[in-house]
Amino acid sequence: MAKFEPVLFARIHKPDSASLKSYQADGGYSRLKEFLSMAPADVTNIVKDSGLRGRGGAGFPTGLKWTFLPKDHPGPIYLAINADESEPGTFNNRYLMEKDPHQLIEGIILACHSIRSNKAYLYLRYEYGTSYRVLDAAIRECYAAGILGQNIKGTGFNLDIVLHRGAGAYICGEETGLIESLEGKRAWPRIKPPFPAIEGLFRKPTIVNNVETLCCVTQILYRGIEWFKSIGVPPDPNNPRDPGSYGPKLYCVSGHVTKPCCVELPLGVTARELIEEHAGGVWKGRKAKAVVPGGISMGFLSDKELDTKLDFAGPGKVGCLGLGTAAVVVVDDQTSMVDVLYNCCRFMSHESCGQCTPCREGTAWMTKILERIRTGNSRVEDLDLLLEVAGSMGIIPGTTICGLSDGAAWPVKNAISKFRGEFEDYIRGQRATVTSAQKLMAVH
């Protein structure tokens, strides 16, 4: 197989990669006029036929999502760009926004043309101040060059992009939470249906897409369906419901590795390959004990599951929730899984929006039980209690509105089923191992 060449990241190491001049010198926006002259449905069909699946975590087919919009709607129709990248371990969109904002803007223009939208809201997490300034400058450049605004490139197509900064809430990454937040409300996810494509932002049809997804749209339009489908993993012939995992993906590798990095590879690379060939191996010559496959809400791979393919279907085959954001976090063999799981639970407890009782209470109680384990006051039965709480919360048991709760339950389910011996030994040892630094963090 030919060596894989990065595409989404092809330009990020160039000096001045964020400027319009540099993007155009590399051929950016060169065919925008041609694409804007195509029928919107034809653009949607290209994206649909490419097999592109959303990069934000759920992996829903992007083109299919676009077709859910009502036909002949008088408008307005909105595009909301989800740049609230907050899943622990994830930082791929930050690179795309800071280093190549025009690749994203071109994707936004193409998507808006396809869904017949003249207004796009880019919901950016507040913490990404540099991304904000780079995007703001890039959007201004586009207005000045006639690439945004009225009558883009003389095609008669109009589009405005509004940058909207969040205020530090993980739940704004859930698409209806994002919509509520944009409307100036608490980011409480909505009950679906109606899905945003029918009734979304300001009660109008809305498509919510992730930053990396929209960058893929740009590349698919320029390079074609065949190119996109030549990368990644085709559908499993034994599973008629598997749409496959096509295209390049940005994998983030962090935690206990020698060289933490964000690297673009074909979907389907294994966790072992990522750690050993791209992140310089586990740090300090140690071994991996557990690996988060795609952000903490996806659960854990054990050291025996490192050859799992990180495509949309792979992590699910070993009991994880899914590929998520493809953020790989490595935990070495000197680290206590009790501390790691506590960190995950504390995060989810802090970030639960509080709307659904099973999530608000469940995340808090799981954190409290783990605190009890860490302070040496627990019983082995507490592990079953944790599993019972974890099993009662989320969309999968059907007790919550959004998937945050499933993401809070999954690390608990995986950690206790895959590392039960370690948890039991820890509890039987009945030693309080909490350091003063850890105590400082014990605020939910």
């Binding site: 371990g89 913490e127 400082l440």
Partner: protein, 157 residues
Amino acid sequence: MSVLSEELREKIRAEFPKYPNKRAVTLPALHLVHDTLRAVSREAIVEIAELLDLHPSEVHYTMTFYNFFKDENHPLGKHRVWFCRSISCMLRGGEELLEKVCHKYGVHPGQTSADGKITVEFAECLGACEGAPCILVDDVCHMDITPESAAALIDKL
């Protein structure tokens, strides 16, 4: 005597054309006020609500969802320094880093130093895990931080 200056009101009004209704300007308005006044007081909430044609309770209800905004009893220092405590930073010494910095400046997370210069906070994942542990000074991220480099950054502020 109003809390919001005419200049600040103008900045808030300048956001109106971007959205189909004024309510959507709640977060942008809160950011503008919070950045300038280092807190959003009850009086400020009433004035924001007037500008946005909302009831003050609606602005307050939205504001208090986001832990980000401080009220008048807990105003921010001149700069806000966030220490990431999520998994990748925790694995690479983020907790110990925060403890040492808190000790050095005599503050607990959420508090402002006695000279009013910095407010120290813990943050959930800052999205800079390749440079863990990382910190955010106002809204600029700094990576691969040690207690010494954190102190150097803070002392330069």
